[in-house]
Every structure is written in structure tokens, then in C-alpha cells.
């Protein structure tokens, strides 16, 4: 079962690389924001996965919850700023 979890972890990490490509190359600022959101969702999943691998889920769940809530605050703040500011300063 641990091998399976390791394979899942590797696959998700490779997928993070795809979103990272979107963060680097995204034509507009909002593409970058979307890429960052995708990475953070995967980080939440990965934290729970790591916790399951170590059989210490109760410890990792706390960080995962904190991640999810902070991600909301950060993303809303970014969206508000971008909305006030208007289109990307290119």
C-alpha cells in the first residue's frame, strides 16, 4: 500500500509541474492565479496523503485545514487587488 501511495505522490508532484508551467507562462495574471490555486489544492491533498503514509493523519490534518482556509483568504485578497487594479501591468 505504501508503494501505491508513493506512486500517487509522484504523479501528483508531476501534475504540480504542469500547473507551475501555467504560472510561469500564463499570458495574463489570472492564468497565474489559477495555476497557483491548482498547486495549492494539490498541496492540500498531498498533505493528507503524506499523513496517511506516516499513519499520523491527525497531525497533518491541522496543517491541511489551515492551508485550505488561508488559501481562501489569500486568493480572495489577490482577486480583490487585481479587480481594483484592473488589467495586468504589462
Amino acid at each position: 500500500m505504501n508503494t501505491f501511495f508513493f506512486v500517487v505522490l509522484t504523479i501528483i508532484t508531476v501534475l504540480m509541474l504542469v500547473y507551475f508551467y501555467r504560472v510561469v507562462r500564463g499570458p495574463s495574471v489570472f492564468d497565474r492565479v489559477l495555476g497557483l490555486n491548482g498547486i495549492s489544492t494539490k498541496a492540500i491533498v498531498l498533505l493528507v496523503l503524506i499523513g496517511t503514509m506516516f499513519e499520523r493523519v491527525d497531525m497533518f490534518i491541522d496543517i491541511s485545514t489551515g492551508y485550505a482556509l488561508l488559501n481562501l483568504v489569500g486568493a480572495l485578497a489577490i482577486a480583490k487587488f487585481l479587480e481594483e487594479r484592473g488589467a495586468s501591468p504589462k
Binding site: 510561469v24 489551515g66 492551508y67 501591468p89
Partner: protein
């Protein structure tokens, strides 16, 4: 450790990307994703509290503050004009890196029982911390009791930084 390898590769890629990219806004977002990966690595080696701080400060607050700063500046400096790298740095930095790697070879392995730290200090903390400090969590006992002055002054630094941010960001300033 093979299990950390994919995340470590991703960490190096994101860190390199944050330095190499020209556009400052994308640099901010790449730095945010770097923080996410770094927090995952911390969680993987078992430092859960550090991972939590990295998630809160690095991925949440720092990204927002960087964006605020970026929007406070003019649009002219969103592109970096970087001078060419001097030859001395190109030669000196690999040598320094090799020296550091050579030095790291002498460090005890992760979780080594025979290393100095786990022979003298760790058993003392693990065995006596409950009687001496009445704190159930050992990490909390080390941070808040054995190293309380260190933590206290760290708190002062963070508080000062918070006041500075509040002063800079207040409405109607500038």
C-alpha cells in the same frame, strides 16, 4: 531518501524559476508555489510546526504583501534589467558549493542515534521535560521553556514587523 526526491526536484525548479523569470508579478506567484512545495517538504521530514509557519507566512501572507508592494510601485520597474554575471562569481560559487557539500558529508545522518545531539540533549529533553516544565508537547516545551528568551525576542521582531507593515499600509498615508 527516495520518497522526497520528486518534491525536492520540484523545489529546485520553482526556486530557479523565481530567480530566472523577468516579470515581477510572475516571480511573486512562482515564489508562492515555491512556498507550498517547501511546506510539503517540511511536512515530509516531520517538522510539522515549521510546515505550518511556512504555509501561513510564505504561501499566504508573503504573496499578498509582495503583490501589494508591486502595485504600490510604478509599472516601469516590473522588468528587471540585470547586468551580466561577473566571471569571479561564475568561478567562485561552484567552488563554494563544493566546499559546502564536502562539509555536509561530515554531518550525522537524518535520525542517527549515535550523533552528538541525540546522545546528550535530546534524551534530557525527552525524559525530563514533563517533570521540569509540565508541558505535554516536547517541542512546545523546548520553544517556550528551555529557549524562552529566544522565542520572546523573536516575538518582538515579528511584532515590530507587524507594526511597520500596518504603518506602511494604512489608508490615507503616502
Amino acid at each position: 531518501m527516495i520518497i522526497e526526491l520528486p518534491l525536492l526536484i520540484l523545489l529546485v525548479v520553482t526556486a530557479g524559476g523565481a530567480i530566472m523569470v523577468k516579470d515581477l508579478i510572475s516571480a511573486v506567484f512562482i515564489l508562492g508555489s515555491y512556498s507550498f512545495v517547501l511546506a510539503l517538504v517540511w511536512a515530509l521530514v516531520g517538522a510539522v510546526d515549521v510546515a505550518f509557519v511556512e504555509a501561513v507566512v510564505g504561501a499566504g501572507l508573503a504573496t499578498v504583501f509582495f503583490l501589494l508592494t508591486l502595485f504600490g510601485t510604478t509599472e516601469k520597474d516590473t522588468h528587471i534589467r540585470r547586468p551580466p554575471v561577473p566571471w569571479s562569481a561564475l568561478l567562485g560559487l561552484p567552488v563554494l558549493g563544493l566546499l559546502l557539500l564536502y562539509g555536509a558529508g561530515d554531518l550525522p545522518a537524518f535520525g542517527d542515534v549515535a550523533s552528538a545531539a541525540s546522545t546528550y540533549i535530546s534524551p534530557e529533553y525527552l525524559e525530563n521535560s514533563v517533570e521540569q516544565t509540565r508541558t505535554p508537547n516536547v517541542v512546545t516545551a523546548v520553544l517556550m521553556d528551555y529557549r524562552s528568551f529566544d522565542t520572546f525576542i523573536e516575538t518582538i521582531v515579528i511584532f515590530t514587523a507587524g507594526i511597520a507593515c500596518a504603518l506602511i499600509l494604512r489608508k490615507g498615508g503616502s
